[in-house]
Amino acid sequence: MSGGFSQNDNSSHRGQLYLFMGIVTALFLLLAVRLFYFQVISGEEYRAHSERNRIRPVVLEALRGLILDRYGVVLAENSPSYTIDAVPFETSDETVDYLGELTGQDVQAIRRRIRDPSVNRFNPIPVQRNVSFNIASQVEEHLLDLPGVFVQITPGRMYGKGTLASHVLGYVSEISRAELDGLADEGYRSGDIIGKLGVEKSFEQHLRGQNGLEFMEVNARGEELGPLPGMPVLLPETGNNVYLTLDTRIQSVAEEAVPDSLAGALVAVEPRTGAVIAIVSRPGYDPNLFTEWIPQETWDTLRNHPLKPLLDRTRDGQYPPASTMKIVTASAALEEDLVTPNSVFRSCNRGYQFGNRWAGCWTSGHGSMSFRDAMTNSCDVYFYQVGHLLGLDRWGRYARGFGFGVPSGIDAGVEQAGLVPDADYYDPAKNRVWTPGKILNLAIGQGELLVTPLQMAMMTAAVANGGVLYKPYILDRVESADGETVTTGEPRIRDWLPVSVETLRLIQDSMIAVVNEGTARSAQLPYAQLAGKTGTAENPHGLDHSWFIAYAPAEAPRIAVAAVMENAPSGSAVPVVRKVIDAYLSLENRPVAGRIDEDSADYAIP
């Protein structure tokens, strides 16, 4: 070592470079030896292994998270079911034919699935889920003649409460081609189960969990010999449990309150948070139907049913709000100083002459009326005049301010926006002509105006809580399988009603009067003061729709409800809403979970 640090002696330094060359050579030798060891020495045994036996990766499907109500009542859970899997690479066309014969499934459909060029040929894919015990045992018996095919017990989805809250829960089904393309990076494979609608879809990422993987040895006859020694098993991870804000007890009461003969919707929320207590669309359907192969007849029956059970009326049903809209029209008029609480309008003599048009009132004449009387008795003539004074622009501004014409912003799923027509809407080119008389219809909630029951419930809640327009939410919390909170749903304020405290107080008082002495006397409860407003929507296609919105107790509201019954006599919605409010208020010893202080009535507009 001639002074490595002192002087850069050429010949000795050249030695260092040869040393480097030697190190590189040694490293390559090491790699070569390692390869030799793996591939030739221990590879020998492994190779024999792979010639005699196959190694098959078996996906261990994760348990999907539960869906529960806010108190932990289970709404959707898992139950074991049989799934037939096939490894495309190992499955010949003859095998497919035979499999189709055994299971009675369409051979072409199986073939399409396992010959799909985009699937990994070496990974097993589910060919048929939820097969019966009989078919599963048949296939199990004939495995020798079905190389590449095997039967697995996988978690199937079960909705233990049948049709309860079916529209909220949604359902799961096999992933579609389009979904698979969009989710290529998320680890889905062909034949996997995915949430298609409702909560199942909205919270898919929480619910799905993560599949595991195990390598099984399979002999040449297709029999599984057991897990491959030395390979760790990647255990599946159970999905998170999703707790909804729903109260199953109230949900059942609400669903049963809607007569079987009727179609309708009801939404009940907490006025001080926007949390959904019950959300009902009737008739419902059984989401269990969708988790397995649906026979065409069942599907047709559901689709062609005159009452459209698949339609979620709470958010996709759009109805004219009828007289419930008078809350908005009245607020606008008070706020714009067009009327005072005591001002009296031209007497109602069965109707109102506007230009050359006669607009009728719903009854034989109310006489001259004050604001309060007009609200209590729902006098159309009073509101025709108010609407006329307001004009389309001002009226429309208030309608949107009360949350109409825009989706309510619920945290799960899609919803309709409804329609609040404005000047742009009336475009003669689109065959929509504006005439000044149209404001009369709009002012009483008829005409082109359309709202969803969900929007209506949120407006009712806003009136009840002193003017805060919340976005409704249905997710109470998400917990991991071992009980750790992953995320929680929070009240989200959407806007404030564009009205003063005084105006709101007048509206609230008039809604109390509607229940005490007006059109909704049958809604009264002996122990709590309700405030409400009825509506009867003219339906050009058939019988009228009956609305009722209400909240209670009037002095410190804990529940706000909106309900609409299709093609039903005026007032049909009143007993339905009454039952729901009664059930909610009378349920003793309710566990208190994340609620704002019950006793405080002090929640004014900030």
């Binding site: 070592m1 490595g4 640090f5 850069n8 330094h13 050249r14 260092q16 470079l17 040393l19 480097f20 060359m21 190190i23 590189v24 050579t25 490293l27 390559f28 090491l30 790699l31 070569a32 390692r34 390869l35 030799f36 793996f38 591939q39 030739v40 221990s42 590879g43 020998e44 492994y46 190779r47 292994h49 792979s50 190694i55 990766p57 690479f89 985009s118 699937v119 990994n120 040929r121 070496f122 990974n123 698979l180 393309d181 290529a184 993987l213 390979m231 760790p232 990647l234």
Partner: protein, 405 residues
């Protein structure tokens, strides 16, 4: 003989690239809808790359020297810009130019080699002077810092290899290099051994032994003592202050077996794929282990496993042999050119290739941690193939112009 060196380099690099394209086809054809597109893209990059390699090989040496500083500055700017781009799988590595994306970190390898070669060929002073080593360290530290911010651990380690290689050629001895990196080795030993003080003492004694033998200059001695003291006293508390997941990440990096879901799983998969290849392999497109396994990086970082499975020991040893010959030729070029600048340039290129090949194959056979280091010419990736071909072009350039000085 002289001409043959260059010709062999060209043949090997083209051969490996073509093998790469074929294997990429095999590795990606079972992945949803991507097989053909990756194969085509890599082919296009390859055809372009041949042209770029040729141009690089004929550029006059003076021209290379003249563009060194502008290139270095430009690449640093690109490295800063890339940090502002949107992240893909947790890191920002690509800058998009129209429909192609490039990785500035690949260009940075070339820029750093050029800069180090230029600097070390111009300083007349002794390589052992602190200022010289510090300047070299700075040239390397800047891009490393920017690349670590992306974050891209694998690519940033390459720069350490470049620095070591260039300093070796500049006159440092192998033992001196080991001394230089010994504090880092100390950290690794500490973490792996769970801060066992017996193992630590043995390590420190060996470092002290080397120092006694080599008698480094005073500043080096002081630096090493301070660094080792710092590691010895500071590493454990610092380690304990890391979050669990951070510790886990480091532990997985050093010992993938502890994480059977992520990196550990890849290693196991890779070993099985290689093992099942046997002597002659399962045949092209027939490597079921490769295709069925959860090997997300099989066309990039784990491409060697695909080769080993489908073409067996004969195939993998042939590829290994090609790399060995390639690197030996590179070392020969770097040892036998007269000009210091050219020697440094070649040394830097050789370091990159050596590091990538040993690291990648070592990872595939499970002897080295998974650092996300791809295999030159073979792995999928346009920027990486391009930078490999340019580095090869630089080697060719050096040998072509070896009589110019």
């Amino acid at each position: 003989m002289e001409i043959h060196l260059n010709r062999t380099l060209v043949i090997i690099s083209l051969l490996l690239s073509v093998i790469g394209i074929i294997v990429i086809y095999s590795a990606t054809r079972d992945v949803t809808g991507l097989g053909m597109s990756r194969f085509m893209l890599q082919s296009m990059w390859f055809l372009t790359g041949i042209g770029v390699m040729y141009v690089t090989s004929v550029l006059p040496t003076r021209f290379l020297q003249a563009i060194t500083i502008p290139v270095f500055v430009l690449v640093m700017v690109l490295l800063v810009i890339v940090l502002t781009t949107e992240t893909v799988k947790g890191s920002s590595r690509w800058i998009r130019f129209g429909f192609i994306g490039i990785q500035p970190s690949e260009l940075a390898k070339i820029a750093v080699i050029m800069a180090l070669a230029l600097y070390l060929s111009q300083v007349r002073s002794n390589i052992h002077r602190p200022s010289v080593i510090a300047t070299c360290g700075f040239i390397v530290a800047l891009p490393v810092f920017l690349i670590l911010s992306q974050p891209d651990l694998g690519t940033s380690i390459v720069f350490g290899a470049i620095l070591c290689g260039v300093l070796l050629w500049a006159g440092l001895s192998v033992l001196e290099l080991i001394l230089m990196v010994s504090p880092l080795i100390g950290v690794v030993i500490g973490v792996v051994s769970g801060f066992d003080w017996v193992i630590w003492s043995v390590f420190i004694l060996s470092v002290a032994g080397i120092m006694y033998l080599k008698r480094p200059p005073r500043f080096v001695t002081i630096f090493l003592i301070v660094a080792h003291l710092g590691v010895g006293l500071g590493a454990e508390p610092l380690w304990d202050s890391l979050h669990d997941y951070q510790q886990q990440r480091v532990e997985t990096f050093l010992n993938p077996q502890v994480d059977p879901k992520g990196a550990g799983y890849q290693i196991i998969q890779s070993k099985i794929a290689i093992g099942s290849g046997g002597l002659t392999g399962r045949g092209f497109l027939q490597g079921s282990q490769t295709h069925l396994a959860f090997l997300p990086e099989q066309h990039t970082d784990f491409i060697f496993s695909v080769i080993a499975e489908e073409f067996g020991f004969l195939g993998s040893i042939a590829v290994l042999g090609l790399y060995y010959v390639f690197i030996l030729i590179g070392i020969n070029i770097a040892m036998n050119v007269k000009s210091r600048y050219q020697a440094m340039l070649a040394a830097g290129c050789v370091s990159v290739f050596t590091f990538h090949v040993v690291m990648n194959i070592g990872m595939a056979v499970g002897v080295l941690p998974i650092a996300g280091v791809p295999l030159p010419f073979l792995s999928y990736g346009g920027s990486f193939l391009m930078s490999s071909l340019i580095l090869c072009g630089l080697l060719l350039n050096v040998w072509r112009h070896r009589f110019d000085y």
